[in-house]
Every structure is written in structure tokens, then in C-alpha cells.
């Protein structure tokens, strides 16, 4: 187990190194001179040279990378070209909203998905099964922005229960969470169904049934408890995708999270902010995936560590 953890940790470090190189290179991959991209083509020679020196762009590429990664390790992801604010501060100011949104969506997605998947498995090949799978397939196929617009139209315009957009506490996160949660529930329902179908076929389930165990205890106590292991992994992996998926939802609902920050930064070509955000989200995604892996291997001792 320790060897496995060390190996996973080492792989994670290499991946992070690769991610940091890619993110660092972003500014150099943009066609044209990065300084001219910032200052515009009518900038004076002096302004160009000053900015080059300020950004360290007159140094060799590897030196620029070392300074980038050195600063990043100290929590300095640079300053926004537009607001001059530190990117880390901007991210930290906005991250709580995205984090809450991801957590609420995950709860909605997990509850709805597990219930739908369990019903589909227990009632396999019935109308309930087909209906649950159809709903989950629609959840996977529907664009997030479309679900969001539909919910706004019904629950903010026609029945003015929720705010149309903007952030004003928990209340304004309900519709966005449902939007993201529905998309997540589709995948979870499909995984729960297939995992539950495997479990239902096991001998111990037949034994419990023969011994006259109550149906609810049989399904939720004996069945679901064992079927949930791979589902929990999926739920964990969805978290990272929810952070990225929040880009669309936050834009539709005008929520000031890191997703909408990314879109604002692209619109203004604010590269330090984009680089900082991409680095931050990838870091969280990698760490969450590692944690899910570790929890999975701890929960299910059948997994072999290769």
C-alpha cells in the first residue's frame, strides 16, 4: 500500500510538472509577440522594453520557467493585466462560490443518480428501468446552458421563486446547482444501475432474500452498500469536472465564481489570470483524483496495487 501511494504521488508530481510547463508555455504559444499582444501594435520601443524587463521576457526561456514555477510554489501566480490585482487573491475571492456550487451539485447529482440507478436495477427491464435510463441519458445529452435557461424561464420568470442571476447567498445557488446536478446525475445513475445489477446476482443477496430479509434492508443494506464503491469513485471524479462545468453555469447565472472569471479573462486576453486559473483548476483536479484513488483502494481491498 505504501509503495502504491508513493508511486501515485510520484506520478502526480510528474503530471503537475507537465501541467506547469504547458501553462507556462501558453503565453509563448500565442501567435505574435506577447508584449505587443498586451500593449497593442502602436506601443513605443521604450514601453515594450520596460514591459519585457518587468515580465522577465528578456531572459532565456528556462530561466523564465524557473521564475514562474518558483513564484507559483510561493503562491504567487502573477498580477492581472487588467485589474493589477494578484491572481491568487482574485481566485481565492471567487473560489468559495464555485466550490459551494460544485458541492451542492454533487449532492443533488449523487442523490438523484443513486435513487434512479437503484430503481432501474431493482426493476430491471421494466418501464421504470427504461424511464430512469432515458431520463439519465437526457441528463447526459442536454447542454448545461439549455437546462439553465429552461430553469430560469420556469422558476425565475414564470414562477418568480428564485433570482434570475447574480449572487446573494445560498438561495441564488439553488437553480445553478440543480442545473449542474442534473447533468451529473445521469452518469451516476448509469454507473449505479450496472454496479447494482452485478451485486444483485451475488449469492449473499439470494441467501439474504431466502432468509426473509426485509426488501428495503435487502436493497439498501445489503445491495446498495456494496454497489456504491465504484459509484463513490465516479462521484469523486465528477467533482473536478463540476469545477470546469461551472464555467457555463456561472456564465448563465452571472455568478462571480472562478468559471466566470475565466471567461472574463479570455474576453480581455488577461493571460496571467487565465494561466493562474488553469493551473489552479488542474491542480485541484489532480489532487482530487489522487484522493479518490487512495480512498477507493482503502475501501476496496480487492484492488491490486501494480
Amino acid at each position: 500500500m505504501t509503495r502504491y501511494l508513493l508511486k501515485r504521488f510520484f506520478t502526480m508530481l510528474i503530471t503537475l510538472l507537465g501541467v506547469s510547463i504547458l501553462v507556462f508555455l501558453m503565453i509563448h504559444l500565442i501567435p505574435g509577440d506577447p508584449v505587443l499582444n498586451i500593449l497593442g501594435e502602436f506601443a513605443t520601443e521604450e514601453a515594450i522594453n520596460n514591459l519585457k524587463a518587468e515580465l522577465g521576457l528578456n531572459q532565456p526561456l528556462y530561466m523564465q520557467y524557473f521564475s514562474f514555477i518558483g513564484n507559483a510554489l510561493q503562491g504567487d501566480l502573477g498580477q492581472s493585466y487588467i485589474t493589477n490585482l494578484y491572481v491568487v487573491d482574485e481566485i481565492m475571492n471567487r473560489f468559495p462560490i464555485t466550490f459551494q456550487l460544485a458541492v451542492y451539485s454533487l449532492i443533488i447529482g449523487a442523490v438523484v443518480g443513486i435513487i434512479m440507478g437503484t430503481i432501474a436495477a431493482v426493476k430491471q427491464n421494466t418501464i421504470f428501468d427504461q424511464l430512469a435510463m432515458m431520463v439519465s441519458l437526457i441528463g447526459i445529452s442536454a447542454p448545461g446552458f439549455w437546462i439553465a435557461l429552461f430553469l430560469i424561464f420556469v422558476f425565475a420568470y414564470q414562477l418568480p421563486i428564485f433570482p434570475i442571476s447574480g449572487y446573494d447567498g445560498f438561495y441564488s445557488l439553488i437553480l445553478p446547482s440543480i442545473t449542474l446536478g442534473l447533468a451529473t446525475s445521469g452518469n451516476i445513475a448509469r454507473m449505479t444501475r450496472s454496479s447494482m445489477l452485478e451485486v444483485i446476482k451475488q449469492d449473499y443477496m439470494r441467501t439474504a432474500e431466502a432468509k426473509g430479509v426485509n426488501v428495503f434492508r435487502l436493497i439498501f443494506g445489503h445491495g446498495l452498500q456494496n454497489a456504491l464503491i465504484p459509484v463513490i469513485t465516479l462521484i469523486g471524479l465528477q467533482f473536478g469536472h463540476l469545477l470546469a462545468g461551472a464555467v457555463v453555469t456561472e456564465t448563465v447565472f452571472a455568478l462571480p465564481g472562478i468559471g466566470s472569471l475565466a471567461i472574463e479573462a479570455i474576453a480581455t486576453r488577461d493571460m496571467p489570470t487565465i494561466q493562474g486559473l488553469v493551473m489552479f483548476m488542474a491542480f485541484i483536479f489532480i489532487v482530487v483524483n489522487l484522493l479518490v484513488d487512495i480512498i477507493y483502494s482503502a475501501v476496496d481491498p480487492r484492488i491490486k496495487y501494480e
Binding site: T15, S141, G240, H241, L243, G245, A262, I266, V278
Partner: protein, 300 residues
């Protein structure tokens, strides 16, 4: 003489067999299984409908795509305008029919680029073990970004626009091809018949072309069908965010984005383009699921 007898015996046997018992080729078995799958047929029918509507747009669309009539602004769905009109009095149905071409093309281009690059890298990675670690490490780095974020980061570099959105989506899809193809090649290269052709001195290029590639076809077909839908969804989301196709281009995501501003007065402007995206993606998912079951019933 004995050869002739054997052949005629075999012919006679097969000839007298009932239709169902005749030996079938792999693909005819797949086709038979696929035909029996209701979901796959419904999915294929949905796709066929949208393909015909998009390809036949110049003939089938009730109005010219760009025809603006200010007196026709914001007309709700009616007998004249089945899906209503937009803020310039343009017919939504006609624009959606042309928009289907853009959306389907976005999916096709993204899947084709990702498929070609992904299959190439996957085969190299699975067949040449020395290169495997490097290719897979690169893929792990790409997989370290949630796919939409990766696409957004690529657009931040390449710039906003339809072509760049397609490239961005394609790059974010490549790792899934590499993984699937590599896995299949890894199991294939251990098979005895591959060992045998290797021992006969057949070149690596020929082995890959004649013995490996035909066997990775099934998983690649399934993956491409599913990724086609996912790519259309991703590309539409990028257009909706203002990063892909730009208005007034009649792309479904961009149309929904414009409709968002008129949601209260003209809900149809974003409802129908979004519905079209959902139905097309649903069609690909249903067909993909059906193909997976038909090509490899063990996975069912």
C-alpha cells in the same frame, strides 16, 4: 479429385442449411444485433432526421437563412414560422437547418482529428513499449485538465473562433482515443497470431496495418459515435460562451446564446436550438450504446 469432393460436400452442406444456421460474417452478426436494439434504431433515426434536414437545408428550409423582415420580429411558433422568428425577423427553423450543418461539421471535424491522431498515438504506444511511457505521460498531463477547461485554455492561446473551437475540442478528446486504442493493442500484441507473423519476418508496418488496425476498429467506432455527441455538446457550449462560432453564424450554441437575452419575450429563440443539440447528442449516445452492445455483447 478429393479436393473437388470436399468443396462440393461443403457447398452442399451450406446450401441445404436453413437461412438462420448459415455461418455469418462478424459484421453481418453485428448488423443483426444492432437491428434488434430499439435504442440504437431510435438514435439512428434521430440522427438521420437531422442529417437530412441539415444537408437538404437549401431545398427544404421554408425561408432563406438570412432573410430579415423587421415586421416579423419575435413571432411565436405558428403555422407560418413553425419555430418562431428572432430579433431580426429571421425564421428560426430555416436558420436551425443551416445551423445543423455547422454543429454536425464541428463534431465531425473534432472527432476526425482526434480519431486520426489518437489512433496513431494509441497504436504506437501499445505496440512500441519503449515509447509507451512518454506518450502515456503526455496523455496523463492532458487528462489532468477537465476537458472543457482544456478546450478553454487552448482557445485562450489560439483565439476565439469556429476553427479554433474545433481544434480545441479535438485536442481535449485525443487522450480518450489513445487510452482505448492502446489498451486494445496491448492485448493484441500478446496474441499468438501476432507472434507468428512476427516470426515469419513480417515488418512492423505491415503487422500494424493488416493485423492490428482492423482489430481496433470496433472500439474506435463505438468511441467515435459517443465522442461525436460529446464533441458537438462541447463545441456548442464553447459557442454559447462566445468562444466558438460567432453570431450571426447560425450555429446552435451561438443561436441559444443570442436567445438568452430575449428569454422572457421570445423563449423559442434559445429553446429550439438547445433542444436540437440535446436530440442530436441523445441520438449519438443511443446509437453508441447500441453499437457497443452489438460489437461486444460481453460489455452489455
Amino acid at each position: 479429385m478429393s479436393q473437388v469432393v470436399t468443396e462440393s460436400k461443403t457447398e452442399g452442406l451450406v446450401g441445404n442449411m436453413p437461412e438462420a444456421a448459415k455461418p455469418k460474417s462478424y459484421w453481418s452478426l453485428v448488423w443483426r444485433r444492432l437491428k434488434r436494439n430499439k435504442g440504437a434504431i431510435i438514435g439512428a433515426a434521430i440522427l438521420l432526421f437531422f442529417i437530412i434536414a441539415s444537408v437538404g437545408a437549401p431545398i427544404l428550409s421554408p425561408y432563406p437563412m438570412e432573410e430579415m423582415k423587421m415586421e416579423n420580429r419575435f413571432i411565436a411558433p405558428s403555422a407560418d414560422h413553425w419555430l418562431g422568428t428572432d430579433e431580426f425577423g429571421r425564421d428560426i427553423l430555416s436558420r436551425m437547418m443551416y445551423g445543423g450543418r455547422v454543429s454536425l461539421m464541428m463534431g465531425l471535424v473534432a472527432v476526425s482529428i482526434a480519431g486520426i491522431v489518437g489512433v496513431f498515438l494509441g497504436v504506437i504506444s501499445g505496440y512500441y513499449r519503449k515509447l509507451d511511457i512518454y506518450i502515456m505521460q503526455c496523455m496523463d498531463i492532458l487528462l489532468a485538465f477537465p476537458s472543457l477547461l482544456l478546450a478553454i485554455a487552448i482557445i485562450a492561446v489560439l483565439g476565439v473562433g469556429l476553427t479554433n473551437a474545433m481544434i480545441a475540442v479535438a485536442i481535449s478528446v485525443i487522450p480518450s482515443y489513445v487510452r482505448v486504442v492502446r489498451g486494445t493493442v496491448l492485448s493484441l500484441r500478446e496474441k499468438e497470431y501476432i507472434e507468428a507473423v512476427k516470426a515469419l519476418g513480417v515488418s512492423d508496418f505491415k503487422i500494424i496495418l493488416k493485423h492490428i488496425l482492423p482489430n481496433v476498429l470496433s472500439p474506435v467506432i463505438v468511441l467515435s459515435t459517443l465522442q461525436f455527441g460529446t464533441s458537438i455538446l462541447a463545441a456548442a457550449s464553447l459557442s454559447f460562451l462566445g468562444l466558438g462560432a460567432q453570431p450571426p453564424a447560425p450555429e446552435w450554441g451561438a443561436m441559444a446564446y443570442v436567445g438568452k437575452s430575449f428569454l422572457l419575450n421570445a423563449w423559442w429563440m434559445s429553446l429550439f436550438p438547445g433542444l436540437a443539440i440535446m436530440l442530436v447528442v441523445l441520438g449519438f449516445n443511443m446509437l453508441g450504446d447500441g453499437l457497443r452492445d452489438a460489437l461486444d455483447p460481453r460489455l452489455k
